[in-house]
């Protein structure tokens, strides 16, 4: 049963990260990120205690809330990209390449890190998708989503090798800090003047 749930978590990570790449609406983006953190929670709790993985889930959701509130206070802008639908095809294609590449890597990484394949693939996949997001987006919001995805993937992999509470706390703080930095980027113009 647990093995099936691990694979389901991987599928959730896969679907949410690809949809994050394709969907341009910020509400969808944040919703998908929140679901993605559920998958991260499940894949992290394989190696870390549930309490620590819950902390990651909560900090991830808090990050989503911070970004959501920041978005609500900014002037709505069109999120459409000029190159659609070619852009969408390109994204699906590159996401496919990343899926294949990370699967190949995950086969070795799972042995190397001593974790099960869904966790290794899930972590590497999120890292890859996060990097892809960073590579093809220049909007502050999208870049922060990319960084959060990348960090979430890294946390899955790092949980297998480091179980320190301090590291978990600092990584949660970094997740929240990234969201706050993203919120700051979105709402800052003229916020404080000398």
């Amino acid at each position: 049963m647990e093995s099936i749930l691990n694979w389901i978590a991987l599928v959730i990570a896969l679907v949410t990260s690809i949809t994050l790449l394709l969907h341009r609406d910020w509400r969808w983006g944040l919703g998908l990120l929140a679901i993605q953190y559920l998958a991260v929670f499940w894949l992290v709790q394989i190696t870390l205690p549930v309490s620590m993985s819950t902390a990651k889930l909560v900090s991830g959701w808090m990050a989503c809330v911070v970004l959501g509130i920041a978005h609500l206070t900014t002037i709505p802008k069109s999120d459409n990209i000029d190159s659609w639908p070619q852009g969408r095809i390109f994204r699906i294609f590159t996401a496919g390449i990343i899926m294949a590449a990370t699967f190949a890597l995950a086969l070795r990484a799972s042995t190397w890190l001593g974790i099960i394949l869904p966790a290794a693939w899930g972590g590497l996949l999120l890292v890859g998708m996060g990097l892809l997001n960073l590579g093809i987006n220049s909007q502050h919001f999208r870049v922060i989503l990319g960084l959060l995805t990348l960090l979430a993937g890294f946390e899955i992999l790092y949980a297998a090798v480091e179980s320190s509470t301090l590291v978990a706390a600092l990584l949660s703080a970094v997740t929240l800090g990234l969201a706050l930095a993203g919120a700051y980027f979105m709402v800052s113009p003229g916020e404080e003047k000398q």
Partner: protein, 465 residues
């Protein structure tokens, strides 16, 4: 009372209070006072030694435990604390003379405390997380009022965040190598991960693009502070790696890698600076060059290399403070800081323009200025092994000198009959003149600053001996 509480938690606590204060002069005064007191404490207060004042007996403990890990500041760290907090005092004391946002000083105080924590945390690899938190804190500092935070700050955030996984994973591998010295298979991946981690952290080519971008877009004074604190602490963090791991320190390829990286940074920084038309970007490229110079000093090896590495610390601080302050003053005249917009400003801002020119030339290693003694020692050390390397270093320096002369010509060129005047405030003039005198004094009498860094090698158990 413990040292981490004094030098890490107290500044963070005070910064939290200062964020609520509205008067910038009060903020700068309190922050400067605190950092000055902490500088004196670093110099005079013994750590882990019983102190008796009258009937009062107390001891400043060296460590604090947090969630099963330690923050340790022992007596060997005190010289570094003195230098870091002394430098911060200079940075913070000048802010009331310039139009910087109120939050710059409190956030700057948090950053310096987190950086000290990064150097104090055990296992020291966790420093990457604390550096990342400093990066996140610095984002609001880089915001320009009435303007969207631009690409430079975002790219800074991306590159520094990308460093985090590399450093943390390399740490895991390094522990594996330490525990199992026969595990040669781990050495190569660990070295690659460390390399990428530091390439991102130190903005090594091709991951350097955020520096000129940020220097162009954000407030020069804030950028100056960021470009001083991050490379300085990261270089110390890097030295920590070399000091801690014998296999890394004694790797045959290390010298070649450091030499190549250092040369690329010096030559590319100098070359690109020579062709820049924006004063902020020139400062950015000069910082890239200077990081390259620091990396190159490590190739000299032994205590000689370490001494030159540490000698660079104070001239770099002086140059950056002077440069950032002068640029901020000049920004009041021209918001773009493009060379075409600052033509003939030497006639209206003679002190600020002199500051920029002197700082540029000092960082290029011009004789009589503060940068010359460490640069000269480096050239001498490198020449004993390879003249080709010295040639490339001098070529990079030549680029920055050409840039300095271009800037000087731009400042000095003025239509006939333009009157000389000084639009800097009297206090700004005094501070700038003190800066000029310091640059010349350290150029002529470098041993004056020696006492500030002679105890520093003690931080490193192996590299310092």
């Amino acid at each position: 009372m413990s040292a981490p509480v004094l030098w890490i938690f107290l500044p963070i606590f005070l910064a939290g209070i200062l964020l609520l204060v509205r008067n910038q002069k009060v903020i700068a005064l309190i922050a400067s006072l605190l950092t000055f007191i902490l500088t004196l404490a670093g110099w005079f207060l013994p750590i882990d030694t019983a102190i008796k004042i009258g009937a009062l007996d107390f001891k400043v403990a060296s460590s604090v435990d947090i969630l099963g890990r330690h923050l340790i500041l022992n007596s060997s760290s005190s010289s570094l604390l003195t230098l870091l907090f002394g430098s911060a005092t200079i940075w913070f004391a000048i802010t009331p003379l310039l139009k910087t946002p109120r939050r710059v000083v409190p956030l700057g105080l948090v950053i310096i405390a987190l950086m000290v924590a990064a150097l104090a945390v055990e296992p020291f690899l966790y420093a990457a997380l604390l550096i990342e938190m400093s990066v996140l804190i610095s984002i609001p500092m880089l915001e320009v009022p009435s303007q969207k935070p631009a690409k430079g700050a975002l790219r800074f955030l991306i590159f520094q965040t990308l460093a985090l996984p590399f450093i943390l994973f390399s740490g895991w591998l390094l522990v594996g190598i330490e525990a199992n010295p026969g595990g040669i298979g781990l050495v190569q991946p660990a070295a690659i991960l460390i390399g990428f981690g530091f390439a991102f952290l130190l903005a090594i080519f091709p991951f350097h693009s955020w520096i000129p971008l940020m220097a162009e877009e954000s407030s020069p004074y804030t950028v100056g502070y960021i470009l001083w604190i991050f490379p300085t602490v990261t270089l110390f963090f890097g030295l920590g790696f070399l000091d801690h791991y014998t296999w890394l320190r004694e790797a045959p390829a290390l010298g070649t890698i450091l030499k190549t990286v250092g040369l690329i940074m010096i030559v590319s920084g100098g070359f690109l600076a020579a062709f820049q038309n924006q004063l902020g970007r020139i400062m950015g490229y000069a910082v890239i060059m200077e990081t390259g110079v620091s990396i190159l000093t490590l190739t000299l090896g032994g205590i000689a290399g370490m001494n030159i590495f540490l000698m660079l610390f104070i001239p770099r601080l002086l140059c950056l403070v002077l440069w950032a302050m002068s640029l901020t003053i000049l920004k009041g005249h021209s918001s773009t800081l493009l060379l075409r917009d600052v033509r003939s400003t030497g006639r209206f801002y003679p002190y600020a323009t002199t500051g920029i020119t002197l700082a540029t030339l000092a960082l290029a290693g011009m004789p009589l200025l503060a940068g010359f003694p460490p640069h000269f020692a480096l050239w001498e050390g490198l020449a004993s092994t390879s003249l080709t390397v010295v040639f490339w270093v001098l070529l990079g320096n030549l680029g920055l000198i050409i840039c300095g002369l271009r800037v000087l010509i731009t400042f000095a060129t003025a239509p006939k009959g333009t009157r000389w005047e000084s639009r800097e405030s009297p206090v700004q003039r005094i501070v700038l003149v003190v800066g000029f005198l310091a640059l010349f004094s350290l150029g002529l009498f470098p041993h004056w600053a020696q006492s500030l860094w002679t105890r520093l090698p003690g931080i490193f158990a192996h590299l310092g001996n």
